[in-house]
Amino acid sequence: MLKITNLHATVEGTEILKGINLEVAPGEIHAIMGPNGSGKSTLAQVLAGHDAFTVTEGTVRYENEDLLDMAPEDRARKGVFLAFQYPVEIPGVNSAYFLRTGLNEVRKARGEEEIDAYDFLALIRAKMALVEMDESFLKRSVNEGFSGGEKKRHEVLQMAVLEPRLAILDETDSGLDIDALRVVANGVNQLHTPQNSAIVVTHYQRLLEYIVPDYVHVLMGGRIVRSGGKELALQLEDRGYDWIREETAAAAATTQPAGA
């Protein structure tokens, strides 16, 4: 479904991603962990098409198409969803209207009929129950005055409505208390099907107690330095990142030819 090959990206001339390789098959959940500043959020933003980042090298294939060649809205319409780490406020724009407009764009791209306001209301009510959001949300402006937890639930709600093929969750767990975390994780798990995949970017192992990943990758210094199963996350929880940093440095010293 997704194949990232040797991806390099810069922001304002500084290289952040230094050769990412990652392959995600349908139905898989991949967790990406790593210390602050390692490039996790950059990877998420590059996949979604944020123009603050420049891809200098490498390719990303998504469903056998060149993802990097698509405008951000086309990526979204083709099923790539990013749950933002910092969801943006849009004052005066009704949340339900915003979401219905987005859904209709996605439906049009899938060759489906647009959904009318009445059917949409039924749909969103069902999805709201999933993330335990209350009715008043429908009347509010997009993210305006939302608490941190509400913003994150709102991201998961949008994901539930848009039903993406590939969901990328960028630190959706940060700043959440344990109840909110459970709600968010529950939302993600319910959406998980044998066809739909997810990339879960997180700082902490605790989210992975609720969302069980098939693979865990450690991103450090702009590269994936280690991959493993879910037990890798537990190891990181116990030992931190330093041991990986040291092992990686040692490996680099022995294997890399001088001057590379």
């Binding site: 979604a48 891809v55 200098t56 990097l68 951000p72 809205e73 969803f81 764009e105």
Partner: protein, 499 residues
């Protein structure tokens, strides 16, 4: 395995900035000229010009005297462009206007207020093209229209139907002939002839406009509107509108305006006076779409307008709503004088400046009566090189005890070459009044656009949606039919699709 060569960054069809610029730079669809036979005064301003206008309109002697008095007052007043900048009220820049180069009267020859059959078909075609058919069967059923073409009213629809309930609606010139006592009683009673430079000029040379009288206890059964069209070149439009709502009556009135695209600036100096007696309510909405000039700032209308309403009676209410998208320069402050106790004044405004447009607009809420209340919601949008000023005066006079004002002015910037400015003037002369002022400035952020993109919206739709959200509080004050027109004008579609 060999890595593929570096892939260049994806190039979107248009950058965000380009889309934003296109958004701000919509085509001016109303910029055509109609070739009609017209009767014009030669350029120049003198007592003779004024006598000529007055004679054309078959006015009584008192009105000619009133005009001449205003003219002499105007002659003694200082041209605001000649004042040093710090002493100027408005922050707008334009060269000194040559008042002798303007023609003060231009009227199409074939006009009849009795029947549309006698109106030049070219004029009817013009209004059709503007989307304002004057044949009653084709019109929006709930809206009566007075169509003003250059210096005269060419048609008024639903006049008879309105007369059945005692409502007088029609051209100002006609009202002078049919209802001189009403006109004489209220003309200049809200905006005195010497109020300001452009109001004095208007009082001397005004040509046509609308007159509305709603009798006691009558709720006007339809929206009343006036559509102003400047057509002739080198002509100023000086319209005069007077609306009187008698005790316990209600009226909703709307004006729209357009002009051809020309490289010369044209002057539009109007005066609008509203009078609301006890328990009367007037809702006055404007969709101003005069030609704004091209993006380098060549041409466009100078829109220098004095609009003021007097809430004379207790519990009366005047509400101004304006959507200002046109004109090279806009200079207007629709205001309320809250004389009656418990009277209410409201001002809702969206002003858009792009290209080289300048807008200095806002309101004055003068609280004189007890427990009076005013609300001001102003939304300024600046794009490209546009300059947008909110200027508002709130005065709580000594007798206005227990009064309240709430002001909110928000500015939105699109791009980095434009400007937004806010100048509140607040005076409180009694201890029991409350004045609140809130202001904010925001920029359409790339992050907002990207967030929308990520949910499947195109950049055009995202900008529309963000701007629409920003203006929502004001747009919802417009009568339904006009809200649709206003949103279209703002390049916004309520449905979220590209227009």
């Amino acid at each position: 395995m060999t890595e593929p060569a570096a892939t260049p960054a994806p190039e979107a069809a248009l950058s965000d900035t380009e889309v934003l610029e296109q958004f701000a730079q919509r085509d001016y669809k109303e910029g055509f000229y109609t070739d009609v036979e017209s009767d014009s005064a030669p350029p120049g301003l003198s007592e003779e010009t004024i006598a000529f206008i007055s004679k054309k309109k078959q006015e009584p002697a008192w009105l000619l005297e009133w005009r001449l008095k205003a003219y002499h007052t105007w002659l003694k007043m200082e041209d605001p462009t000649q004042r040093p900048a710090p002493e100027q009220w408005a922050m707008v820049h334009y060269p000194k206007i040559d008042y002798q180069a303007i023609s003060y009267f231009s009227a199409p020859k074939k006009v009849s207020l009795d029947s549309l059959d006698q109106v030049d078909p070219e004029i009817l075609a013009t209004y059709n093209k503007l989307g304002i058919p004057l044949e009653e069967q084709k019109m929006l059923s709930g809206v009566a229209v007075d169509a003003v073409f250059d210096s005269v009213s060419v048609a008024t629809t639903f006049k008879d139907k309105l007369a059945e309930v005692g409502i007088i609606f029609g051209s100002f010139s006609d009202a002078v002939k049919q209802h001189p006592e009403l006109v004489r009683k209220y003309l200049g009673s809200v905006v005195p002839t010497g109020d300001n430079y452009y109001a004095a000029l208007n009082s001397a040379v005004f040509t046509d406009g609308s007159f509305v009288y709603i009798p006691e206890g009558v709720r006007c059964p339809m929206e009343l509107s006036t559509y102003f069209r400047i057509n002739a070149a080198n002509t100023g439009q000086f319209e005069r509108t007077l609306i009187v709502a008698d005790k316990g009556s209600y009226v909703s009135y709307l004006e729209g305006c357009t002009a051809p695209m020309r490289d010369e600036n044209q002057l539009h100096a109007a005066v609008v006076e509203l009078v609301a007696l006890e328990d009367a309510k007037i809702k006055y909405s404007t969709i101003q779409n005069w030609y704004p000039g091209n993006k380098e700032g060549v041409g466009g209308i100078y829109n220098f307008v004095t609009k003021r309403g007097a809430c004379r009676g207790d519990r009366s209410k005047i509400s101004w709503t304006q959507v200002e998208t046109g004109s090279a320069i806009t200079w207007k402050y629709p205001s309320c004088i809250l004389q009656g106790d418990d009277s209410v004044g409201e001002f809702y405004s969206v002003a858009v400046t792009s290209g080289r447009q300048q807008a200095d607009t806002g309101t004055k809420m003068i609280h004189l009566g007890r427990n009076t209340k005013s609300t001001v919601i102003s939304k300024g949008i600046s794009a490209m090189n546009g300059q947008n000023v909110y200027r508002g005066a709130v005065q709580m006079q000594k007798r206005a005890t227990g009064s309240r004002n709430f002001t909110q002015c928000d500015s939105m910037l699109i791009g980095d070459q434009c400007g937004a400015h806010t100048f509140p003037y607040i005076t409180v002369r009694n201890p029991s009044s409350t004045v609140e002022h809130e202001a904010s400035t925001s920029k359409i952020g790339e992050d907002q656009i990207f967030y929308c993109n990520q949910r499947g919206l195109s950049t055009e739709d995202a900008v529309s949606m963000i701007v629409n959200g920003f203006c929502k509080e004001v747009l919802k004050e417009l009568p339904m039919e006009f809200a649709v027109e206003a949103t279209k004008l703002l390049g916004i579609s309520l449905e979220g699709s590209v227009g």
